[in-house]
């Protein structure tokens, strides 16, 4: 799914112009990015929760080159889907 398709589907569902939809989508994405950048947790109704988490530094081993590397700590985005989404996933079967 690319952006064009997403905008298309959104505009038909919300009966908005494509330009309007694109603009709103851009605003939403920008807002979400800014919130995450400030290490805030955001909850999107019907989708899930995004939060930032610190992943500690660890030692990784590359079996091919037989090299040990220390991977630096990193702040990552963690996503937890809502219950509704989880139920849907269950319903989708295997």
């Amino acid at each position: 799914m690319n952006k064009a398709r997403l905008v298309n589907e959104l505009s038909t569902q919300l009966s908005l112009t494509k330009n309007d939809t694109e603009e709103r989508l851009a605003h939403l994405i920008d807002l979400m990015c800014q919130e995450l950048k400030q290490q805030n947790t955001i909850q999107i109704p019907g989708l899930g929760q995004f939060e930032t988490r610190e992943r500690a530094s660890y030692v990784a081993y590359n079996p091919h080159y037989k090299k040990k590397m220390r991977v630096p700590p990193k702040v990552i985005v963690q996503f937890t889907p809502t219950k509704a989404v989880k139920e849907e996933l269950k319903g989708a079967g295997l």
Binding site: M1, R24, I29, I44, P45
Partner: protein
């Protein structure tokens, strides 16, 4: 620190940002969620360009334990929805660690840091705000006198000189008027007047002799100590005699032999000695030593009481409490002084390290009054002189000073109680550990790694590259409130610190990093 934006809050913000009504914003977000979930489940993948990608992965059956009952159960296979942020978003979120790169642990240095990582990996043991205990090298804790003599001959020398200096001052005052007419029977230093350097060296030796004689006097062996003003002609005679005697030895070897004779206790066993001292030189020497003496005194007094036990083992009493900043200042003072003089030659390499080791390791600190500084340094000097014949003197010194030491101990205890009751009123210091970095040190100190900028701002100028700080640097810990309850002043301080770091990165040639810290300074302090 971080806030939680729940659904309605996010919708409200989105509505304001996009200039639409709340209901419109709500329906937009709901529609987006629906489409994303639908597409993700049906196609296994859904992308929001500019934000991230949702993927569905399958999780196989696995064994797990039932929480609560502890029963072993099988978690059935299911699907999981994963989110992968866009590269830009991931970088933005990770702005604090952005510049860090994976480190190769196959090199020697790497192996060391690897073990360090393993040791420090158990982060559970570190409660937030806990002091970092730098391990003390064993040789600093307990050093036998023999070792001391072997390794720290130069150090011993110095401390003796310091003691000598204080005593000689008096000697000069009182003894100079009654200059004896007797000829000098003591062997003058052969190279004493060869050059200025050697003159000074000779002076040091003489001072050392004086002090040893003084000690003998204390223990009961009555030895006359006289200082003669100018014995140049006589000395020159003897000097020339000596020279002819040992002409084949050469100047250099001569000098070392005189040096080694310093440590020979039998040398001062003569009954009477008249030591030639050039007054002008002595004054010059004393003025330079005065500075060092002051610095060393304060360090000795603060470093912890150094006590002598019966088996001549020197141990640092760690109960003494010193404010870290004070130590830091003193260390700076002495290191600065060392650089400025030829003291490196006298001390030998690694002296500064030896000095700084225990002082940093003493986790509890005390600030004794200046009156109490003196005995400690003298006691130390007495110990360091380390000759068997002086051991009785030491015990005398020790008993003389035990009262002062006790006083200091009680003061230390009082200070300790005070500081524990008043919490973080005194600033503390830690040693920088490069294996974990400022970031993780801030985590240990404040419970929030991002406050490392405060540590940096407090301790370094903008000319220091934040990613390249020397191991073991003593850091002063600025006191701030618990993260999340920052006052306006502290927020301002954090803002300044962020800008400081940004400037430091700018100076280190890391423009993009500087930019991200600069932008962080706008919003980040407000989240605290």
């Amino acid at each position: 620190m971080s806030k939680k934006r729940n659904g309605s809050e996010l919708i409200g913000r989105f509505a304001i940002k996009a200039g639409i009504s709340t209901s419109e914003a709500k329906s937009f977000i709901q529609a987006l969620s629906e489409i994303v979930t639908e597409v993700a489940i049906s196609e296994g993948k859904a992308t929001i360009t500019g934000f991230g990608r949702f993927t569905i992965s399958e999780v196989a059956d696995r064994e797990g334990t039932q929480p609560g009952t502890g029963e072993s159960i099988i978690i059935p296979a299911h699907k999981r929805m994963n989110f992968t942020p866009y590269k830009k978003l991931a970088e933005m979120v990770n702005f604090v660690h952005e510049h860090k790169e994976a480190e190769d642990l196959n090199t020697e240095e790497g192996k060391k840091t690897e073990s360090a990582v393993k040791n420090n990996g158990n982060t559970d043991t570190h409660t937030s705000g806990e002091r970092i205990n730098t391990p003390v090298p064993p040789e600093l804790n307990r050093v036998t006198k023999n070792e001391m003599e072997k390794n720290n001959n130069s150090f011993t020398q110095l401390l003796e000189e310091i003691e000598a200096q204080t005593k000689v001052k008096k000697t000069v005052e009182f003894k100079l008027p009654e200059i004896s007419s007797t000829l000098a029977t003591a062997q003058p230093e052969p190279d004493a007047y060869a050059s200025e350097d050697t003159e000074k060296e000779a002076l040091l030796n003489e001072l050392e002799q004086i002090i040893q004689q003084k000690k003998k006097q204390l223990t009961g062996n009555s030895l006359d100590v006289r200082i003669e003003d100018e014995q140049k002609p006589d000395q020159k005679k003897i000097f020339e005699q000596e020279r002819s005697e040992s002409a084949e030895e050469g100047k250099g070897s001569k000098f070392t032999s005189s040096d080694s004779s310093l440590d020979n206790p039998t040398r001062v066993n003569g009954t009477k000695k008249y030591l030639p001292v050039e007054e002008g030189l002595l004054k010059e020497f004393m003025s330079s030593m005065d500075e060092l003496n002051m610095a060393i005194k304060s360090i000795n007094a603060n470093k912890g009481r150094i006590t002598s036990s019966t088996n001549n083992i020197i141990s640092f009493d760690k109960k003494i409490f010193i404010p870290g900043s004070f130590i830091g200042v003193m260390l700076l003072l002495i290191s600065g002084f060392l650089m400025g003089t030829n003291a490196d030659r006298i001390f030998g390499q690694g002296f500064v390290e030896r000095i700084s080791g225990p002082s940093v390791s003493s986790t509890q600190t005390n600030l004794p009054t200046t009156e109490q500084n003196k005995p400690s340094s003298l006691q130390l000097a007495g110990l360091m002189s380390g000759n068997a014949q002086n051991s009785s003197t030491e015990s005398v010194n020790a008993s003389d000073l035990s009262n002062a030491a006790e006083e200091r101990q009680t003061l230390a205890n009082r200070m300790e109680n005070k500081s524990t009751s008043s919490g973080s009123s005194t600033s503390e210091s830690v040693r920088f550990r490069s294996e974990i970095g400022l970031y993780n040190m801030a985590q240990e100190i404040y419970g929030n790694p991002r406050l490392w900028v405060l540590l940096f701002e407090e301790n370094f100028s903008t000319s220091q590259n934040p990613d390249d700080i020397a191991y073991g640097t003593t850091l002063t810990i600025p006191n701030v409130a618990r993260p999340g309850s920052f006052s306006e002043l502290e927020k301002e301080r954090l803002r300044i610190a962020l800008l400081h770091v940004a400037q430091a990165y700018e100076n280190a040639g890391k423009r993009d990093l500087a930019q991200s810290y600069r932008s962080a300074s706008v919003y980040y302090p407000n989240t605290m």
